[in-house]
Symmetry: C2
Subunit: 135 residues, 2 copies
């Protein structure tokens, strides 16, 4: 059985946040939107429908936990939850805090405006706060 390794593109595009039982949690490198990425630590996982039922239930629980913590930590008007895997095949779930005034609203955030860098230290500070609350 292959060991799980985080996809290098996901690693490059995000900051580490914390480890949950199923997922490694990342913060997307885009200050336009507070944006978590949950990656199930299961080698070769691609489709939610192909996870076994226990892992699927755990995934839903962790999506719900991440959603609640993100919404409690940043101001937002709507949560967006999505799993594509078109560009990066390794299963990963986006949990994104949207506001009526964010630069992509009301569209899905991909490709509307280029990613915006966080101010020095800001992503690490947000990641630490989120990690604390995800415990």
């Amino acid at each position: 059985m292959a060991e799980f390794a985080l996809d290098p593109q996901i690693a490059a595009d995000s900051y580490p946040v914390t480890e949950l039982k199923l997922c490694t949690v990342r913060l997307q490198r885009d200050a336009n939107y507070p944006w978590l990425v949950l990656v199930p630590k299961r080698a070769d996982a691609v489709e939610i429908v192909d996870l076994d039922p226990a892992n699927r239930t755990m995934l839903l629980d962790e999506i719900v936990k991440a959603s609640a913590v993100l919404r409690d930590t940043v101001k937002c008007d709507k949560l967006n939850v999505a799993s594509f895997g078109n560009a990066v095949r390794q299963m990963h779930i986006h949990v994104i805090a949207r506001t009526f005034t964010d630069p992509g609203w009301p569209k899905p955030p991909w490709g509307v405006v280029p990613p915006k860098a966080y101010a020095p230290g800001a992503a690490e500070a947000l990641a630490a706060k989120l990690a604390q609350r995800l415990k």
Copy 2:
């Protein structure tokens, strides 16, 4: 307690497929992508995190069922599963069959190309086939 009523925009943008225990299932009016929309029949439902645990579990089960049936019914290379609710606030989950040669690949399908009309009768035929398998 308010009664559930399908959002008129969702109704206008899709064909009826079938009724599951939690969700009413619709086929998006876009022949570019075989595309199901699952709408939980719960008045005022907006965020997955705010569904009670029993409804959340049912939602996951129905997403999985819809994913499996869609993939078994049409050729596809990847499933996309997403819940935004930015433009239409009523909770609805997209389950989309993507192929490497579809007009939006590998992007999320929103706004890449305009929706394409189904040939006369084709959407109804696909909806009937999907409904049969979703039973």
